[in-house]
């Protein structure tokens, strides 16, 4: 079997890394859409409910989703560069 040169090995490494990042970017985009959809759904529920403890529960979840999305958007930017 032909031995790979150092340059080929480096190329192979970067192409593998690039493929991995591309797959990660695609997964992340899908996930971010889902999180956004869930945030909108909870905001609608929040508007419907009058019960304060239930509303506090929704508010906490919305805050978490918002923070996760923020983290995700920053990561997506990083992966797109």
């Amino acid at each position: 079997m032909k031995k790979l040169s150092l340059l080929d090995k480096i190329r192979h490494f970067f192409s593998k890394k690039q493929k991995h990042q591309e797959a990660k970017r695609k997964h992340l985009k899908v996930l971010l859409k889902k999180l956004k959809k869930e945030e909108v759904r909870l905001k609608t529920k929040l508007a419907d409910k009058k019960d304060s403890s239930r509303n506090a529960h929704y508010e906490r979840l919305i805050k978490v989703l918002h923070q996760q999305r923020k983290k995700g958007v920053a990561l997506l930017r990083e992966l797109s560069h």
């Binding site: 990660k24 997964h27 992340l28 403890s53 906490r60």
Partner: protein, 226 residues
Amino acid sequence: MRKEVTHLYENAFDIIIQVMNIEKDDLKDDDFIERLATIPSKVMTVDIDKLYNERIKLLYSEIIAFIARIQGGSDTQAYGDTLYDLRDASRDVVEAVKDIKHLQKNLLRYLVASNPFIQKEYNAIRQRLALLLKDLNAIAADSDNEALLALDGVRADLFADDALAGGSLDNLIRNGSITPEMATSLMNDSSYAHDVAKNLVNMAKVIFTPTDSMMREVQESLVLDS
């Protein structure tokens, strides 16, 4: 092995809801929190030691023995850290049952107490644990398998309106609404309930986590620091 640990959790789940005097069907209902706000007129006592021996102890021992046998074998590396994680998850389930045992005595006592203030606080513990179990059920049943992210929401909810954290316990003592003995019990039992929740969330991180490595990697990068 994951299936067996999940089975252990399901057994623990049954024990916990029995101790908390919660009907399984209550957790399916969307308005269950409101319904659980009504303090039960009578409470049922369950023999938790008997249930532990019958449904937890043997299964847990078998899980531990099986993991030990694999670790002694030659292909341990093929399992990576999964075995250790599963062993820890089983231990978390067992600890949760032990914590609920500590909580049982005062919960049953104060849920039917004549003092409405302490009754309300213990019912709040019951409601919070019910909410946690409902959330964990939803995560387990989630076909999209976004458990790691969903657990962030569970963590945020855990005892957000806890009597200790919110300062309402101080008010109850200051106003003479509850006795110092009741306050001590409430402090200890809030801590037990917190431990139950923490153990179950730790277990869920292992058991309900996505098996797809890319999905797990993406979710892990979005998980908030707790």
